[in-house]
Amino acid sequence: MTLTLFFEQLLNGIQFGMMLFLMSAGLTLVFGVMGLINLAHGVLYMVGAFACALVAGITGSFWLGLVASLIVAAMAGALIEVGVIRRLYKRDHLDQVLATYALILIFSEATRWLFGSFPLYLDVPDILAQPISLFGLLDYSSYRLFIIFVGIIVAIGLYLLITKTRLGMRIRAGESDREMIAALGVDIRTLYTLVFALGAALAGIAGALLGAVQSVEVGMGGPVLILAFVVIVIGGIGSIKGAFIGALLVGVVDTMGRFLLPYLMTFLFSPETAANVGGALSSIAIYILMAGILIVKPKGLIKGAGS
């Protein structure tokens, strides 16, 4: 094992962390402001990926697809909020779980009806298709660097939005006291629709960005949903900062676990057993991490709203 490989893996971990952050930022935002458990988050991720693949397929431009993913996911989000979610804020978590689970079924099946069962084609834009050399040491996918870049932009954007804008002020007010902002005369219904649409747009754009390096197919949102929940629970539900830290932590632990655990196991077992045991351990590494953190800090690393 060389040092270069180690750093490359660390970079991979951070990069994966950024992907996770993109997936989970919207989820934690919606929970923080509305106290809503949104299982349909993964579905919005899928909607974004499909919109991007469709538009990119027609126009030939990935960037137009990205814009489309943003718009379509936000619209789908607003539609869901107005049609269903709005009625659930006052309900307990159980009703929210059931309703958003139902939304998963509805959206997945509707998407299959429209697009069929075969995976869609979506590739990275040509300009980012070639690897670039980092410090002359290794070739690294330029698209992955782009994802790190987008992750940072989104993090900064959300930070500015929440701390510096009027909307952000209302969001913060909503996090701390839901009755108060209504008393302040803020139109809470519109605010919630807006926040939900924003959360959906974040999910959608994550779906489009990751769809280009993964596969665009019905059901792609399921694993993402679970990962995003792991991230925001580790970080502290409702906290964007927590989601950022949680995502990086999960990204690095998962990547380094996949890389190091099988390697470490070779000191204990034969190569084949090592691959088996290491593989098994690394697939549960992030859950062990999550359980461990919650045992020590039952409310996640960063104190978030609504917890």
């Binding site: 098994a280 549960i284 359980a291 039952p298």
Partner: protein, 331 residues
Amino acid sequence: MMLSVNREQKLNISFIALLFILPAVALSMDEPFYITLMTKVVILAMAGVGLNLALGLGGLISFGHAAFFGIGGYAAGILATHYMNDELLFSAFGYEYFGTDNMLAIWFAAMFVGAIAAIIIGYFSLRTKGVYFIMITLAFAQMIYYFAIAWPTYGGEDGLSIYVRNNLFDLNTLDPIIFYGICLSLLLLVTFLVSTLRNSHFGSALQAARQNEQRLASVGIRPFGIQLTAFVISAMATALAGALFADLNRFVSPDMLSWHTSGEIMIFVILGGVGRLFGPILGAAMFIVFEYYLGGITEHWGLFLGIALLAVVLFARGGIVGVIAGEVKHD
């Protein structure tokens, strides 16, 4: 003494009657498949009744009950496989154990292993509250799920086939109606126990813990112990259901441990009515009937199932029992 029967009790009684009448009808019409389908309902309902104890009475929203369902299933599968292949399961103090095909022993083992797992998972999970509890129970279940997929000894993702159903006394357990009878008896027994528990001293403390933990502690009853006990009993019922499910399908697989299974068990409970004695049973029945009939009509049955579930949440608060029998009454 006059027995006053409220609407919920009437509903429960008529539903029990249906559980007896329908299979008899299916039997007389020579439609064994419907008996099999009802057996599935009864078994899944038992998993739901188990979860309902933790979730409905204790307010412990466990998103990881598939872990116990699957553990129960694997306990049955592993014992039966060892017995069939005459392979050593373990040896201790010079005693060698080769598994069993005796259902009683299998049920006991399933509940025992389920209880051990629940003590460990509950001990750590109960330190957290709310959404964190939901997620940490999910995390534990996912650990077991991925472990089961990757662990080759008992089939990994391919699962484990039992080939022949296990035995109970001299009954022909392969006969659908007899196996149904076994499962129904156990369901009624478990439901009766949960009902007894609900009205007991323990049940009183448990339901108080759901509503106001602070109050319970301040009168000197530790919520943790009460909740952990409820969690363990709940897991045992779900593990028993898992063992029966293994025998029904003559097969166990990690699918039983997946988060979808946890979600489905939870849906039975919510659909039927949280905290209602017969809620999970009605919920499971509705769900299976829906899945079965819609599946027979359209390839896109998921869409309609989704719409139906959504309609229940939005317009039928308190689940099916809630709609028919009204709000919960406490004395």
